[in-house]
């Protein structure tokens, strides 16, 4: 019974929270550029408007992949709040991205295809680091279960500081923020138009946007797991990290994917690996 209530609350309120986070993000970005910026609820207006647009689809399968992406994102958030297995969560989350990639490659637009290919390279870069994070948590807590990880005595961050840094770094890629916004650009008048989302319009784009909201909430949750006692502190720190991401987004220009791949392998992977080897030697 409690589970069902949790599910309903999560499915209904997580997107709202995600929308507000995105709205504040846009507002803060505007302030950095000494503008006033859009209203905080602007992302919700955007999605409502997109829902009201004419339905135009390139092919019939497109919408299925978009829905798949959304469903897997919701599922991974549910796995998180229901304190299920962390490894399964990571794989379900990967499914969500893969679904979007397949959707983007199902059309013939070169922009969409390039975006999709870059997204695949991104997955290649960040997925090992996320898995190493889960492995690190397992080494500390002795469990892959999110419930046991959250209830673990003491601060996970103290044991996994380098993994945390690597995860924050990887999050920039996952959130598609600058300098790694090259699979779908925020500013659609560059080499790649809108990349991954170029060929999605109206309802489909609205669903993709909602998927982002769920993901934003999930990432806040994943970050706060490092500081689970007390939880509010974890959430505050997670929001702080998100704020740093926004700053980074504003001060960086886009890099190339080659640079990203090299840097992630060298920095992200080795940070996480160092931490895990250290843990391994300690226990």
């Amino acid at each position: 019974m409690i589970n069902i209530i949790t599910i309903i609350i999560t499915v209904l309120f997580a997107p709202l929270a995600g929308a507000v986070i995105t709205g504040v993000d846009r507002r803060i970005t505007a302030r950095f550029q000494s503008r006033i910026g859009p209203p905080v609820l602007q992302p919700i207006y955007d999605v409502l408007k997109l829902l009201g647009k004419e339905r135009v689809a390139v092919n019939a399968m497109q919408i299925i992949y978009v829905i798949g992406s959304l469903v897997f994102a919701i599922l991974s958030l549910l796995l998180f709040v229901l304190r299920s297995d962390y490894l399964i969560l990571v794989f379900v989350l990967a499914f969500s991205t893969v679904s979007l990639i397949v959707g983007a490659t199902s059309v013939r637009s070169p922009y969409s295809k390039i975006g999709a290919q870059r997204e695949i390279i991104q997955i290649l870069a960040y997925e090992p680091v996320i898995i190493l994070m889960v492995v690190g948590m397992y080494l500390v807590t002795g469990s892959f279960n999110i419930g046991s990880i959250a209830e673990h005595e003491g601060c996970l961050f103290a044991q996994l500081p380098l993994v945390f840094v690597a995860f924050c770094y990887v999050l920039t890629i996952k959130l598609r923020k600058s300098p790694f916004d090259y699979s779908t650009s925020h500013h659609g008048h560059q080499e790649l138009i809108k990349g991954l989302t170029t060929e999605f319009s109206g309802l489909q784009l609205a669903l993709i946007e909602i998927t982002h909201w769920y993901e934003a909430v999930l990432f806040i949750g994943m970050l706060s797991l490092f500081f689970a006692h007390p939880l509010w502190l974890g959430i505050l720190i997670a929001l702080g990290v998100y704020f740093c991401e926004i700053i980074l987004d504003n001060v960086c220009a886009r890099t190339t994917w080659q640079w990203m791949l090299r840097f992630t392998v060298v920095l992200g992977f080795s940070l996480a690996m160092t931490n895990i080897i250290w843990l391994y030697l300690k226990y």
Partner: protein, 169 residues
């Protein structure tokens, strides 16, 4: 439904196409997106992708070359959509109207909703046009909804059992 109706005017995403302009108008259009005028206050995003855009801002007169591209962009935009002609050239052909290669203003090719006269118009005037375009967008969204409802009703009348299919079409 009401909310969707309202939101139609709250997030005007624009795409800007330079038909044959001398670049004066384009600079003013981009100026209206800079921090000084901050068009994002109204939810304006310069999306650069016709499939995401609601407002097509055209600068410059239409010539035989740019006509095809202009029409193509317009066709790729899902409705409700609004066309704004910025500058004397886009309104009537302006100073170039007598050239051998010029067809004329944008309204020779597309249904223009809002004209912004001036050579080049001030960013304030362009912003004003965008804000007026949002009202038009709400209006057009209502029309679209009505048309869709009518279409569904017609299909229902033809085939009473295929209600769900009708809605999809």
């Amino acid at each position: 439904m009401k909310l969707i109706q309202k939101a139609a005017g709250k997030s005007p995403w624009i795409i800007h196409y330079d038909c044959n302009s001398c670049n004066g108008c384009d600079i003013e259009i981009l100026a209206s997106l800079t921090p000084i005028y901050d068009a994002e206050r109204f939810g304006v995003v310069n999306v650069g992708n016709p499939k995401h855009a609601d407002i097509l801002i055209v600068s410059g007169s239409v010539n035989y070359r740019s006509r095809r591209v202009l029409e193509n962009i317009w066709r790729e935009m899902p409705g409700p959509k609004v066309v704004i002609a910025v500058g004397a050239c886009a309104c009537t052909g302006g100073i170039f109207s007598d050239c051998y290669n010029i067809i004329g203003g944008v309204d020779k090719v597309l249904p223009v909703d809002i004209y912004v006269p001036g050579c080049a118009p001030k960013p304030e005037a362009i912003l004003d046009a965008v804000v007026r375009a949002t009202e038009k967008l709400v209006h057009k969204r209502e029309e679209l909804a009505a048309r869709q409802a009518e279409h569904v009703a017609k299909l229902r009348a033809k085939d009473p059992k295929g209600g769900r299919n009708a809605e999809k079409q």
